[in-house]
Subunit: 142 residues, 2 copies
């Protein structure tokens, strides 16, 4: 259930926030989007619908737990969820807190920038992420 | 649970493929991506985590049913799932069959085009969507 050529089988893929048996949560490092988390499924599976019903529920409970912590701690304008995997076909869910003033809002983070990065706002958000990381780890440890 | 200024409360948002009580499935009309479906939640809710546990399961079962039909009928290179809602904050899941030769692959459909649209490939794919629509409707009617 792992693939020696897959970067998400070989490495965490970001700063490790929570490590479970079936999934991990990492914080990504994407310019302009400090509150960008990923739920990475442990087994090397490409498509969400390849999981059995129990694992789908486990996976979405993790995605929801991260989303809820982001909402509670950061009050984002919107949370964006996505499982794409075109480049790395190993199941991972992007969970991204979006804010009206971020560089791309309301476009997707993969779309065109709408304005320059607000470095002060990004730094202020980044300063709160230790608390967010801790809250995510606690939410998933119960 | 509806909002008179919300386009997804007012209109289907695309070609109606399946209408259930809690959600509908529509086929969108996005240039270059004929196999682009959306699962639209009926109630005006912005965030997936605002649904209760039962409704989350109902919603993701619908998303998975659409994904599985796309995989069975079209053998896409990858399926892309996303709930963004920055522009229309009414819960809807994009379920998109992606192909190596499509205009944006491996970029997200919201990213930069990688090559021109292959009109013949798009037309050939579009010609198969009546069957896909029917299979989705059957999968969700059981």
């Amino acid at each position: 259930m792992s693939d020696t050529s897959c970067p998400l089988c070989l490495e965490a893929g970001g700063a490790l926030v929570f490590q479970g048996e079936k999934f991990r949560v990492i914080r990504a490092s994407e310019a302009g989007f400090p509150a960008f988390y990923r739920v990475v499924w442990t087994a090397h599976v490409a498509e969400f619908s390849s999981l059995d019903l129990d694992d789908r529920a486990v996976c979405m409970a993790a995605v929801c737990a991260v989303e809820q912590v982001l909402r509670e701690q950061l009050q984002p304008t919107k949370v964006n969820l996505a499982a794409l995997g075109n480049v790395v076909p190993h199941l991972h869910w992007h969970v991204i807190a979006r804010f009206e003033g971020d560089s791309h809002f309301p476009a997707p983070v993969w779309g065109s920038a709408q304005r320059p990065i607000n470095a002060a706002a990004v730094a202020a958000l980044a300063a709160r992420l230790d608390l967010v990381d801790g809250a995510i780890a606690r939410a998933l440890s119960v």
